[in-house]
């Protein structure tokens, strides 16, 4: 027979084995306040990073494309001015008397076809700046008769194409080619199906010496134009996205993220001033290791709570347990740094500067428990307080920036991996938090041709 002790044990076990009060749904909701909150908070960061990366990619492709067109024009103009390929042509015997027909097989190296109209116009204007030269012939026959030059130009899909041609007029009878260098023809002809017969316009003749001088001047001009072009890209833009960890002492580091834009202004060959703006989220968490400046704020907060204690509980300030503090700030960051490229290759840089911040929103949560030893055997009373604030505050130079950037050329643009460290110089936000951070910026530089 069972004793009353055993009966009691069995009864207790039976009663409490499944003590379902039907409030499981409510209990789960309570748990979700604590536990999954961390998971759901992680999602926006990764979403944000993903969106930022996508924007970066799209913007990169757009600017990359735009840059390609610009650089193409520059290259074309330079090539038109500089490149001349002269191939010997097959002489043709003419059976006709008193008429010299010079058939020219003209190879134009600098023919560049473009369907875009404005581009064609630019090409044309670029070519038009070049003084025309004409093949210099010494024969009276060639001058007196209307010479016909047949120019076979290799063109593709162009209505107007500049042609810089070298002509060697060779005639067994009476036409003498002056020289390869002297006999130059630039034709700006309307091409029809690739071969057109053009009436030679009356063009002033130049001696060899004059031609060489002119050529040198053209080359010099072309170089100047390129230099000017490079000069205009002294300022470049970076789009960046970064992920980083915020930390304070030995508290748990919190993962945060940000995106932004930077402008880079070339000061000297190896020195660049960079400044910009970005949006970032800064999070901190303090578990049982709350810094003094926050403790005082929390004490003040608790005192407020205690000013009207429920049920006339007399809380003891010494009975605080499980003190924790979480802060989250969305801020606009205004970094300003100097970048130094130590090598001529300019494949990496070292940068240092300061960051200032203003705050779009701030949220602070205090969690603590207060014990009342006079009631319920000192059972802790969990307390939580949350503070929100909107756009306010500006902290100048609240952190230093020390970074190393490693450049990776991608087409005409540059992808930069920039690990960085931002030690706190001053406090941030309403609660005067001194937050340091370390992370990695991924930057896309719209520059073209490498150097920033």
């Amino acid at each position: 027979m069972k004793t009353s002790d055993e009966e009691l044990k069995e009864q207790i076990s039976a009663v409490f084995e499944d003590y379902d009060d039907g409030l499981g749904e409510q209990g789960w909701a309570e748990l979700r306040k604590k536990y999954p909150a961390k998971e759901t908070k992680k999602l926006p960061i990764w979403w944000l990073s993903g969106i930022a990366a996508s924007l970066l990619l799209v913007a990169g492709l757009y600017f990359s494309n735009a840059f390609d067109k610009d650089t193409e024009k520059v290259i074309l103009r330079a090539a038109t001015a500089q490149k001349e390929h002269i191939l010997p042509e097959e002489p043709k015997q003419s059976n006709q008397e008193n008429a010299t027909i010079t058939e020219l097989d003209t190879i134009t190296a600098a023919i560049h076809s473009h369907s875009a109209k404005n581009k064609s116009v630019k090409q044309e204007s670029a070519v038009n700046k070049i003084p025309p030269y004409i093949a210099q012939t010494t024969t009276a026959a060639a001058i007196n008769t209307s010479s016909t030059k047949e120019i076979n130009s290799a063109v593709s899909n162009s209505t107007i194409a500049p042609t810089t041609a070298s002509v060697i007029a060779e005639n067994n009878n009476s036409v003498i080619a002056a020289s390869n260098n002297e006999a130059k023809v630039i034709a700006n002809n309307e091409i029809n199906n690739g071969a057109v017969v053009v009436e030679q316009p009356s063009i002033p003749k130049l001696s060899t010496e004059e031609f060489l001088k002119e050529e040198s001047r053209l080359l010099a001009n072309s170089t100047n134009k390129d230099t000017k072009k490079n000069g205009t890209s002294k300022t470049t833009l970076d789009v960046f996205t970064g992920t980083f960890f915020n930390y304070y002492d030995d508290n748990e580091a919190k993962l945060s993220a940000g995106i932004g834009l930077n402008a880079n202004v070339k000061v000297t060959k190896n020195l660049i001033l960079s400044f910009g703006a970005g949006i970032s989220q800064n999070k901190v968490s303090f578990e049982n290791n709350v810094p003094a400046q926050i403790s005082s704020a929390m004490t003040s907060s608790k005192n407020n709570a205690l000013s009207a204690p429920s049920n006339s509980f007399a809380y003891s300030a010494t009975a605080t347990n499980d003190l924790s503090f979480n802060g989250s700030m969305w801020s606009i960051d205004l970094p300003m740094v100097i970048k130094l490229y130590p090598t001529n290759k300019q494949d990496f840089y070292i940068s240092t500067g300061v960051n200032s911040s203003t705050y779009l929103s701030q949220k602070y949560t205090y969690n603590y428990s207060l014990s009342n030893f006079a009631v319920q055997n000192g059972t802790a009373q969990p307390q939580q307080q949350t503070e929100h604030s909107g756009l306010k505050g500006f902290d100048f130079a609240n952190s230093a920036i020390i970074a190393i950037g490693i450049n990776q050329n991608i087409g005409k643009n540059i992808l930069i991996f920039e690990p960085y460290y931002k030690p706190a110089l001053n406090a941030m936000g309403d609660k005067n938090l001194r937050i340091s951070s370390a992370g990695l910026n991924l930057k896309f530089n719209f520059n073209g041709n490498g150097k920033k």
């Binding site: 069972k2 009353s4 002790d5 009966e7 009691l8 044990k9 009864q11 207790i12 076990s13 009663v15 409490f16 084995e17 499944d18 003590y19 379902d20 009060d21 499981g24 749904e25 209990g27 789960w28 309570e30 748990l31 604590k34 536990y35 999954p36 998971e39 347990n321 499980d322 428990s369 014990s371 055997n377 000192g378 059972t379 802790a380 969990p382």
Partner: protein
Amino acid sequence: MPDNESLIELIASCKKGNLRQQELLYKQFYGYALGICIRYLGNREDALEAANDSFIKVFKSIDSFNQENDFKPWFRKILVNTSLDYKRRSMRFSEAIELTDTIPQSIHTSVIDKISAQDILDLMKSLNEMQRMVFNLYEIDGYSHKEIGSLLNIPESSSRTYLTRAKQALQQLLTTHSIYKR
């Protein structure tokens, strides 16, 4: 409670971090968890908090759970430890209500059969914290005095003393209860 096979599947899903499956596990073991925690903590609010903390521990450390073992004993251990931690943070074990020596009276078992969960909770609340802990740990959850000593940071002999006094107190209270009920 789910059968063993579906429980294994459920735990496997929880290991992958599936929130829906975690909710399912929670709801299936909610009563079990609350029952254990309420025995130690005496009221629903505290018990729910301790139970939820225990579930969070389970979700965070479920990867370390070996599915060849039974889930319930593993979970019970977490529940008991969490309840004790919760209690330890909020009370001082040193306090004790000294009972005068009482002579155990025989109680008819039919009375015990009829006492409800609330009656038991009321009885338990009449014990001091340490007696309630030791009674629960030893009599209901099967811990040895050595383990109890280690868990509560008291000598083994003290555990025995608390248990004896808890039993005496319960006998006395049950007698009063049965007389009152009659």
